[in-house]
Amino acid sequence: MIGDSMSAEVLSKLVNLSSFAALGLTILLIVRARLEGQVRVFGLQSLILALLTMLIALYTGSLELFGVGIALLFVKAVIIPRVLNRSVGKIGIVRIAAPYLGTAPALIICALLTIVAFYVMAPIAKSNLLPTKDAMPLAFAGVLIGFFIMVNRRRAVTQILGFLIMENGIFLLALLATYGVPFIVEMGVFLDVLVAVLIMEVFVYHIKDNFDSIDVRELGILKE
């Protein structure tokens, strides 16, 4: 078993490295303007999470966790990026993300959210005994920034991407805190996320067909 040859220290370093990479990609999503690029960023982040999951599975010798890693690879690094690319292809020429806040202020907010994440999560992680604990604040920062991306984007597709980035952050947080939640729950969550994205895709088309735009600001009929 690899667990014998890999020390906790090495694992801890690899975990920190991948979590940094995942957070870096989250921030890169803010910088990238084109939707195709953003979908690629999300796919890459999912790939890193899948590899990290498998690495931790090897370290702990958990077959179930390895299965979770493979499912993650298929659902979030292959299927969902394909679905998103399909909708980006179909919605026509308007492919710019169009945030409310420009890149520079958005990055400052990201920095603030990361500080908040450390402030909230570092004390929580302290009592943890797992070698993965140090990266927990990074994962939490990813959740907060994903949430921020959702509220900062006008395009329906980028809102979906924000939701997915947030999901990835939550998955990473659970993975680092407790080596993930039980197998049946992880699988159920993947299924839910997949169905949710498929339904969201349908609504992207509905919005496009009925509002001549995928700008969610156009959605303003239901006022008081």
Partner: protein, 481 residues
């Protein structure tokens, strides 16, 4: 028996998916809804007799609290299912069969996901099922496929998914608190509850904040309620009745489950203060939007925000009577709100408008609808002899003792809601109906099941039946009050 409760709606959905004739679809639909109700009643009686049901290892476990939720889901599901047949015949008269099939299929999937959520002992599976309720209802909200309904459904999907994602952080943190301390893997409510004293208090506190915001989104608590008025007003009436009367309670149910763990881990004050805070905020926002509300379905939806807020106040005020009142109010609100939303469908079929200013003279134009609507509104705003008066009285009585300032603020906001809703309804019920409007109720015979809501609201307002009181007491024991 527990598994058959879950399998009936699931099988019904499968059968409806492959059925090609409208009459057969309706038949499967009605039979399934009635069978669900029958099994649910049998289970509830067994559980309230002191038995604990479990199935599939420990994946499913029904205690008194689950039994209460099962009863609400199945009873109101059955009532809404009967009306749904008539309503869909009228509303989707010339729609393609596939849309009618989709409606009934999703109806039963919706019931199925709610039943899973309240019967599983595994908090992760509960989360999956609650997200499932969103996925099952989003196409129902968009059934009419107008610009407004697309907008409502999209907003509902995105906001609920985000909210529920936050609830997952809370669930994972509770799991973490259990795994880190006890050294064992536990995401089952019963084991967490039993070992709550050994949980890491800081982690549990943080977890509950996420749980409250996350499941609070599903429950329609401010400030994450903004999807609710849109979705509940755009959905077809029988679905609005279930979303407002039942689904919100599933969100509350999740909060109650976690609160029981949190109370045992860090004491009751922490959760109580948070619940009172969001309860008052919900009341305030509901009151603000109910004053001069122009759309009667949105009026009912904002009133749901108000009533879920009242339940949270009851849970927060705490003590035996605070929580007793909260549970009682859950039942009462479910009965009154499903009655009113079903009637709103009737008004919509009659006047073809959801605007209050377009509806005049309901009492004369549609006497049965009007009279029942009036009774439902009087119950909803808390007038005797209806049951919500009693439960609100119990809650605020408990509140005046434990948190007098919060309780007094709540009562003032209730008075604002009282005046606002009465003014709106007054406009709808009286006056001269439009001259070109034919007299008589739409779907009069399909309203017959509403007699159950009316009778229960009246009966529970006049007496507190001993079996009902005993059942609520058992729920209090489950919650550790």
């Amino acid at each position: 028996m527990l598994l058959s409760l879950l399998l009936i709606p699931l099988t019904a959905a499968g059968l409806i998916a492959v059925t090609r004739r409208r009459v057969l679809i309706e038949l499967v639909h009605i039979v399934a809804a009635m069978a669900t109700l029958g099994v649910a009643v049998a289970i509830a009686v067994l559980v309230w007799d002191g038995n604990l049901l479990s199935a599939a290892g420990n994946l499913f476990r029904v205690d008194a609290l689950s039994a209460l939720m099962i009863s609400i889901i199945a009873l109101l599901g059955a009532i809404a299912s009967l009306y749904a047949v008539g309503y869909i015949r009228a509303e989707l008269a010339d729609a393609h069969l596939s849309r009618i099939r989709l409606f009934f299929l999703l109806f039963h999937l919706f019931i199925f996901t709610m039943l899973v959520a309240v019967t599983t002992d595994n908090l992760g599976v509960m989360w999956i099922a609650v997200e499932g309720t969103t996925l099952a209802t989003v196409f129902l909200v968009n059934l009419r496929h107008t610009r407004a309904s697309i907008e409502a459904a999209y907003k509902y999907l995105i906001l609920s998914s985000v909210g529920i994602a936050l609830a997952f952080i809370g669930t994972a943190l509770v799991y973490y608190a259990g795994a880190a301390k006890a050294g064992e893997i536990a995401v089952n409510w019963s084991t967490l509850r039993a070992g709550a004293a050994s949980l890491n208090a800081d982690v549990v506190r943080l977890a509950f904040v996420f749980i409250l915001v996350g499941y609070g989104t599903k429950a329609g608590l401010a400030p994450m309620h903004t999807w609710l008025p849109d979705a509940h007003s755009e959905a077809p009436a029988p679905i609005s009745a279930l979303m407002s009367g039942v689904l919100l309670n599933v969100g509350l149910y999740a909060i109650m489950r976690f609160k029981a763990v949190v109370d045992a881990a860090v004491g009751p004050v922490f959760a109580a203060h948070l619940l009172i805070g969001v309860g008052l905020l919900s009341l305030l926002i509901a009151a603000a939007f109910l004053v001069a509300q122009g759309n009667y379905k949105r009026m009912l939806a904002y009133s749901s925000v108000e009533h879920i807020g009242i339940v949270c106040l009851g849970l927060g005020f705490g003590g035996y009577w605070g929580v007793f009142g909260a549970l009682f109010h859950v039942v009462n609100h479910a009965l009154a709100k499903s009655l009113l939303f079903i009637l709103s469908g009737n008004i919509l079929l009659k006047y073809h408008s959801a605007e209050i200013r377009d509806v005049r003279g309901l009492m004369r134009a549609a006497p049965w609808t009007g009279a029942l609507f009036l009774a439902g509104i009087l119950a909803l705003i808390g007038l005797p002899p209806f049951a919500p008066f009693i439960s609100e009285f119990i809650i605020f009585r408990a509140g005046l003792e434990s948190y007098p300032l919060a309780a007094a603020t709540g009562i003032i906001l209730l008075l604002v809601v009282f005046g606002a809703m009465l003014a709106s309804v007054n406009h709808m019920l009286y006056g001269e109906p439009p001259a070109d409007l034919a007299r008589g109720d739409a779907l009069r015979l399909w309203l017959a099941p509403l007699a159950v809501n009316f009778a229960l609201l009246l009966a529970l307002g006049l007496t507190l039946p001993a079996p009902f009181e005993a059942a609520l007491k058992q729920v209090l024991l489950v919650l550790g009050v």
